[in-house]
Symmetry: C2
Amino acid sequence: MQAPAGDTIEAVVLEQARAAKKASRSLATLTTADKNEVLLAAAEAIDAAAEDILAANAEDVERAEAAGTEASLVDRLRLTADRIVGITGGLRQVAALPDPIGVIVQGKTLPNGLELRQVQVPLGVVGFVYEARPNVTVDGFGISFKSGNAVLLRGSSSAASSNAALVEVLRTVLTEHKVNPDAVALLPSEDRSSVTALIQARGLVDVVIPRGGAGLISAVVENAKVPTIETGSGNCHIYVHSAADVDTATRVILNAKTRRPSVCNTVETVLIDRGIADSALEPIVTALVSQGVTVHGEEPGMEPATEEDWHAEYLSLDIALKVVDDIDAAIEHIDAYGTGHTEAIITGESAAARDFTARVDAAAVMVNASTAFTDGEQFGFGAEIGISTQKLHARGPMGLPELTSTKWIVWGDGQVRPA
Amino acid sequence: MQAPAGDTIEAVVLEQARAAKKASRSLATLTTADKNEVLLAAAEAIDAAAEDILAANAEDVERAEAAGTEASLVDRLRLTADRIVGITGGLRQVAALPDPIGVIVQGKTLPNGLELRQVQVPLGVVGFVYEARPNVTVDGFGISFKSGNAVLLRGSSSAASSNAALVEVLRTVLTEHKVNPDAVALLPSEDRSSVTALIQARGLVDVVIPRGGAGLISAVVENAKVPTIETGSGNCHIYVHSAADVDTATRVILNAKTRRPSVCNTVETVLIDRGIADSALEPIVTALVSQGVTVHGEEPGMEPATEEDWHAEYLSLDIALKVVDDIDAAIEHIDAYGTGHTEAIITGESAAARDFTARVDAAAVMVNASTAFTDGEQFGFGAEIGISTQKLHARGPMGLPELTSTKWIVWGDGQVRPA
């Protein structure tokens, strides 16, 4: 769907959604072989069009720089020959993943002879709302298409030229393969009204997944009339239990904080059990400080911590640290301030580990391991759509199966239900 | 939680939700044996309190009759000794069902030695919004409690006395068993404001499930800020394919329409393929009419059908009937008017059956079987929470596993993630 001139943005989005719904019907019955062929052809086509895509991206970068956008944001926006190789590599990787469609989840034969199968089917139409990186445009198409879904992409206006160039290539490939090109569409990004139209398109859009900052995510989730999946917000804790090995604790905390501070699985607060504080506090703080981390806490020599620090998702080389009385106090603190993403305990005592994993309410609960492992690729999913922090439908890293629904298929030979 | 006098209804509901969330933490770690003991004790306590419950119900019935409520509604509201036996039987049945909590959905050991398990856990706090029948009050508690969830019940104001009496018994049983009684609470039902407060209690309520008429369901789903599951709306079709056995078609249609016309899996529209209309139309219509069914259609002698009839969820001894050109036309009609509940084809030709089941987008798609089979009990789930017509989280009949989420539990021995 190209946006007809003169229409309101809302009307354009609804028309795109209707076209996507129509396209989704034919995607549902494509074979795995057909889908993989398209994905590999799309990778080739993007490689071949690299020059045009980079030129479009240069426009976006120029506009962003002229507007005085900060360097880190411009960097996320920028495409390079290497990054295009990364993007097409992603498509090839998705082509190689198992097809989640048609998998039989469960089944049985009833006493009356009816044969029941619960089969994985596409959701239908998926909406992605995301920020600067243009690679999400192609990722979003790849995972949606492999799982038989049509996708409506609402990228950032700052990446409008790059996204338009990428989606044009994708739609051309679909047409060449006799697939309805409305299986992928780029929504207008001039203002927020396209997001509003997308998240309220009941009956046309089956799920909207926001990827980006906390503000974007809560705006989408709170105003949506269609189902949404909340992703990514991570105020993760590591609790150093009284029976922890201090070296292990130090190593895990350092890794979870400094490996990539800007991602959602980074640790933001360390809780140290009073029973081990005498021996653990000093080496952990020293190690953090030696790596350039600012420690916010209540002990002498730290940046004084306020209520805000316990809530903070720093995404930087900052960490909050609190000494807690015992495992109950640790779990209470996590209950009060955690976002249900990833929580970890360091302990040598299995009873404490079992207690912690049973009682802590989060997508992932870890024993003696870095919170950095909560990640679709690390979990072996091949592709990651995001990390769900809600409890309905999907929780934790989402792969292709999380973009599916199910359908009961029932075969009989004339069975009727007794009164 | 008892409602403190003087507070606004919204404040009361939020306080109940906070208390439920707190209670849900302890429910999550109850053993199956503990839960079953409570459920059986609750059944006994309700049996023992039958007299008081019937007296409370008599107040509701009297009030309803005085208000001129129609007889069928009063009947749904009325409890009898027999119906109480049904209610407590339901609790005993839930006690006998397998516990969905703790089930390991999948798991693996990563190359670095990390052990991953994805475990079923409770959702947390479940809200039910429902209409007249007081038995849903106890059902809702039973399935929520067995699946480790706290439950907030928002019943009909017409059943307020019955519901209060039932919930009081349940809370007493919980207290006697040293379980936090806030695991079940009855929300105020004077007006709609308690529904609004419930469906907007983000961070406290994990899912709201509306059970009732289409108006109630769409009001809840469209205005909720917490996740919801849409249930029950059923405009179900039976398509009589050109290769159908006419006797089978007639038998199945009669069963699907007349067995219990008021339930959501009843057939509302029959689509007859033009290729078999000559031989199928007359016997099917005659059979329907002989059972007192009014046929709305375009053929001579029928009640003339309008656009409304194709949309109608009659829930009565009415049926719409249309002759369609072929399987494509049948699927197009279902796409346009169906509600994604249950759709059936009658055919002797397996290619047509495979085509229909692959292309029709509904929770259940049946071949040569009555739509009346879409039902949790028929599917062998033991307890049914409702029939989801949405695609996220649950689709089709929902049993206890549909009231769960999952948690990744990861055990290591100090693993850190390489840069």
